[in-house]
Assembly symmetry: C2
Homo-oligomer: 344 residues x 2
DNA sequence: CTGAAAGCGCTTACAG
DNA sequence: CTGAAAGCGCTTACAG
């Protein structure tokens, strides 16, 4: 059996357009690519343009990519296990599409194994650059990435010596959440932090500590628990917090998914929210509005971060330098009903 | 400025391996690709293999794809606005990766505009095939797809005259949910259905009606409301249902996200769940466990569906025929706490 | 047992 | 104003 044609059956190649217009391929290519240095008779140009239109011509991405050393595709490494990345995936895809780029998605779990997924993204010339949006990738792996020759930007993660990264101001976000609690009158504030190895988690913790310190407070005994991102991790962490000798009257939680679990744990433990305990989560999720009570969160500018990440990566791809940036859009308190003044 | 090399700087090309091994490129290609028809001296093969290893050689995907008319990448068209597709995206990506395929993700909203996103996927030879997992694409568009020359499979959607599709048994899933309600003793059952144009929604509605009919029941006056997928649509729909002359004692909801909204509406309206009203949603979501009360759902085998979709698409790409299939893994009731016997 | 050559679909100096 | 040719990195008949 003959191999299938590269272009979908019947699809026009450059040569077909050239034939149809009765010219050579080079001039077709230059006209279609708007080469400013062509001088061409208007009627010839018209013939070319109309032939291309008639044949519904689109340059084959592989042929073009091979010649130009540009695939016009970006790789996005992301942990697909959690719904929290939805906004980032969609923002990256759209921003890339706006720049005529296509987005290859790769699961972070497979990527960090350094197996085929890793190779496909780095050694096969499939992508012009990489967006690494996973907290999973350990520091060593990320450092190694620098030597692989593919431009990349870190999304929502900073690592000494690795540039560029695009982050949101997590410390500020955390601070805003805690100050909200403080403003309500809380003094015994607990915190469910993320894993210590995760940079985002560390920055949020720093923000929490800073806000507390400014109020001449600190995390009390048993009031800091480290947990993972998922709902049941939040559930367990909250149970621990509530078992403290003197439970907090308010708790901040590093991730909304964990917060959903934590909220469930509080209620299951007989605590009314927000009367007995207030809860605020860092990062907003649309679903937060439908919990009982609707969850107060701090909205982080993730879409802006993703957009910026794409922009910077594209600049890198173009050979321009690029520095790490912190997205300036400030985090925003989304006050719903899970926070209120302390009653104890 | 010289254009950047196609391969990451310093990456080895086939010719580099050939040079290093002191042989020609053809034999290298054949050895590396395990061409069964080569007969080669063991030491030569060893030289080639070790050179490839030493240089960390990986064939450039563009060069290879151009020659073979195989990109080894799949396109996934999906509505990225909702978290419900997370499981599908991750399943597709993994299954594709297992088959050495890479996954291009495209937002359904942009795809249906028939603009650049549509062209990139269909006319530029970027993908070997397409997985269309969006209810958004209207029938006309899907029919048109048949003429574009790119193999595709429809995920979770059937359309007369368009093959193949991979679906789960939505009618059965819906039936299981309703029979659960029936078994609990409910007789006044309401249903929040999806949009009438969506095939999934229609199949679920059919299942609901069938189960009711078998129990010699039917949807009462004002007990059927059509709503969209999002939480607030569910919220509004539930409010309508509850305003019926005689509100139902149990309601089934076509999507879990809508169900979260509906649950909130019920509680906000002063209805206790499940005492005053039972709620079951079709399709499970991990977060469902953290609602108050934890939401009873019917788990649909989405991962199996996605896996099957990839398998079938790959067969299609290989030129084999493929028929539509309904994934046989049965939907499963996940009984949590939002359903109970009627008290009215 | 192994290599030189053609060609996938494109773009870009270069020639005329 | 326009075309022929080379070459991006690969694979595969074909020749020897």
């Amino acid at each position: 059996m003959a191999p299938p044609p590269t272009k979908p059956h019947g699809a026009a190649r450059l040569a077909d357009v050239a034939d149809a217009a009765g010219v050579g391929t080079s001039i077709v290519s230059r006209v279609l690519n708007r080469d400013p240095t062509v001088s061409i008779r208007p009627e010839t140009r018209e013939r070319i343009l109309s032939a291309a239109r008639r044949l519904n011509y689109r340059p084959n991405a592989l042929g073009r990519g091979l010649k130009l050393a540009r695939t016009m595709t970006l790789g996005l490494v992301v942990n697909l296990d959690y719904g929290e990345v939805g906004e980032i995936v969609s923002a990256v895809e759209r921003r890339a599409a706006d720049a005529d780029y296509t987005t290859l998605i790769a699961d972070a779990n497979a990527f960090v194994e350094r197996g085929d997924t890793y190779s496909r993204l780095l050694f096969e010339g499939r992508v012009d650059g990489l967006l690494v949006a996973s907290g999973l990738a350990n520091d060593e792996l990320v450092r190694e990435l620098r030597g692989e020759g593919v431009p990349f930007v870190l999304l929502n993660r900073r690592l000494a010596g690795v540039e560029p990264s695009v982050t949101v101001d997590d410390a500020l976000g955390a601070r805003i959440g805690v100050e909200h609690l403080l403003g309500l009158g809380h003094r015994r504030i607990g915190y469910i932090a993320g894993p210590e190895y995760a940079d985002v988690a560390r920055r949020r913790l720093k923000g929490v500590r800073g806000a507390l310190r400014d109020a001449r407070l600190r995390l009390g005994e048993g009031h800091l628990v480290h947990g993972a991102l998922a709902g049941d991790a939040g559930f367990d962490a909250m149970e621990q917090l509530l078992a403290a000798r003197q439970p907090p009257t308010a708790v901040a939680i590093w991730s909304p998914t964990a917060a959903f679990g934590a909220l469930a744990a509080a209620k299951r433990g007989g605590f009314r929210v927000p009367d007995d305990i207030s809860i605020v989560a860092f990062q907003d999720l649309p679903l937060a509005a439908f919990f009982d009570p609707p969850l107060t969160t701090v909205r982080m500018p993730l879409r802006e971060m993703a957009d910026k990440g794409v922009d910077i990566l594209l600049r890198l791809v173009d050979g321009d330098g690029a520095k790490s940036v912190v997205v300036h859009t400030p985090p925003e308190l989304v006050e719903r009903r899970s926070t209120g003044p302390p009653t104890r």
